[in-house]
Symmetry: C2
Subunit: 369 residues, 2 copies
């Protein structure tokens, strides 16, 4: 049965580039003449070692990570690393969190199991509709093992427009939903980590980039499960035990695709253009409006609503009829969310913008009758 | 480029049924008319919920697990669960381990981070060539939160011929390399868990079956990362956070395939027949011999050697010439290992047996010259 592929605005797992899927499909029974599928290949084989090495090298080129950084391909998602961060880094037992949304809050709460987990700033009082003021973060950072941010808040559609100043304290950033969507000034960070299932491949891999100097001597806390020992995983090339071999291979295909598209600067230009198209439509609409404060708007996840569940549902059913999927907002906030990850095209963003326009004019007409 | 697919004797990741790979290939860009690849489908979508529900249901049918059991599809491999087991179950701070090989030892050492981790029996002194005597385990079990075994030792090619008696103390079994290779008497266990990458799908999923009564009230220890909280994962249907969506889908295809083959009893009959063919060839050979004690022999992983690294290397290169892969023994022990998982056919086991015969006669001839 041939059916049309949908326009995929899912927040993650999310759209993958068609070329990447086609390559994976072609190679699925026999990877490059090895006589094996990547799915059934030993992680200790030479063929697989080449795959993971090339994947890591490609990621290092994209982000500009030199040998001061370890690059790990782990499992368990960002959620498992909510524990991994304090277990590895909480050497004096105090860390500072900027709570800009649900996942930053989860991370802050998880760290409280292992030590003092201070909220240095929060936008909870405004429903996480913005990145909180970062005033005071730098002063508080001095007494912390690290300062933690979730740089793009998938659920609320917000992004940091600037990073907090932290002095000498390492900045740890969960960049899951913006990873590889734009260049990062890596000099500013101590740890950059991301669940892959947005811009970097299918679900089941979490990429952790960590400055080696931060994990010298092993985890901060004895309660750290061996699997979460970043220093060990760095020494073992992410293969202390069997990694998610196929997930890493798929991520490698995605990284190669990004390189062919011109790298992260090209991705950012495309992504900002896509977001602009959708935000412009929202700003021009009398019926739908964006939910994030303008200066905190994410270029990856655009959150919006009509203000009523009935109209939102109507919009979502029009979108479904137009072969669009994944536009329903997160269950915590309702409304709509369009995730405009790398594999979503400008044409798809334009289709969505046109639908927003059309929805506005339909309802304006309806009201004038 | 068309190349022959290899005979795959890898210990894991390992051979997958060709039918399963073909289905995955066919559906890779568009899963059953949904317009999306499983790789880019939201884990919160109705389509994906159907996949994971059907996967769980199929596994429950295969193993005979009723609602007293929670079935979890987690990430991080058995290695992460080496910590998950004590973190969830060590309520009084004492557990007993039967150390029959490398992975049982790793699990025992990991538990020592969290409490008293007693070695109730060990075969380390004989190089783990057998399952240790279980005498005394039952008496010691009484003072333990659980008794732990690794039921099939992939590296050493051994399997428990009988389970230890533990009285009322729950038995926790890492069954990774025999999972779904034979029926299990589930009434005997408290926890049955396995990395999927042997008989149950690709790498990146760890299946944890746990009696709900054991995790009532949540994890035993406060240091338990939320991701490892089995009680929570049970309530959330393995979706507290994004699971390895594609890995679980592939496991579902494998479970369906096993059901079509006649289920676990049929698998066991096939697996025992395959192992018999290879062990018979080894027992008849003057050059190669099995390394495990006969009464501890595994029907899934057959370990053998010539006794010299040179002859072993020669055997491995003959095998490679015959399109066989994955026969090199684990780096800790050297020699050879043939993993005869469900997807390896009887014909492939016969080819291997023929090679063992041929190798024996070549070298006997060579010696007689």
């Amino acid at each position: 049965m041939e059916t049309q592929r949908l326009h995929n605005f899912n927040a993650g797992p999310a759209a993958l580039p068609r070329e990447v899927l086609e390559t994976a499909q072609q190679e699925l029974l026999n990877y490059q003449g090895t006589g094996l599928s990547v799915l059934e290949m030993s992680h200790r084989s030479a063929a697989y070692q080449e795959i993971i090495d090339a994947t890591e090298a490609s990621l290092r080129r994209l982000l500009g990570l030199d040998e001061r950084w370890a690059v790990l391909f782990l499992q368990g998602g960002a959620t498992l690393e909510f524990a991994g961060v304090p277990l590895n880094l909480m050497r004096t037992g105090r860390a500072g969190y900027v709570v800009s949304g649900h996942f930053a809050q989860k991370a802050q709460e998880e760290a409280a199991r292992y030590g003092k987990s201070l909220v240095l700033a929060s936008s909870e009082s405004t429903g996480f509709d913005r990145i909180p003021s970062l005033e005071g973060v730098e002063a508080a950072a001095a007494g912390c093992d690290y300062v933690y941010i979730c740089q793009n808040n998938t659920i609320f559609g917000t992004t940091f427009s600037e990073l907090p100043a932290c002095g000498d304290t390492p900045l740890v950033a969960d960049v899951s939903s913006m990873f590889l969507g734009c260049p990062l000034d890596v000099e500013r960070y101590g740890v950059i980590y991301a669940g892959a299932q947005k811009n970097a491949g299918p679900a089941g891999t979490c990429v952790v980039c960590v400055r080696r100097e931060l994990v010298e001597g092993g985890p901060a806390l004895a309660a750290c499960p061996t699997y979460l020992n970043w220093e060990l995983e760095a020494r073992k090339g992410s293969m202390y035990n069997t990694p998610n071999t196929f997930g890493i291979y798929m991520s490698g295909l995605v990284f190669d695709w990004i390189e062919r598209q011109g790298g992260l600067a090209a991705m950012e230009a495309r992504n900002r253009a896509k977001a602009q198209v959708v935000y412009d439509a929202l700003d021009a609409s009398d019926v739908l409006h964006g939910t994030a404060e303008k200066c905190s708007r994410s270029f990856m996840n655009v959150t919006f609503t009509s203000g009523t569940p009935e109209l939102d549902a109507e919009f979502l059913s029009m979108a479904a009829a137009a072969h669009m999927t994944g536009l329903k907002g997160h269950r915590l906030v309702g409304g709509m969310r369009a995730s405009l990850y790398n594999a979503v095209t400008l044409e798809e963003a334009q289709l969505l913008a046109a639908l927003i326009d059309e929805f506005g004019s339909t309802h304006t007409r309806a009201e004038s009758h």
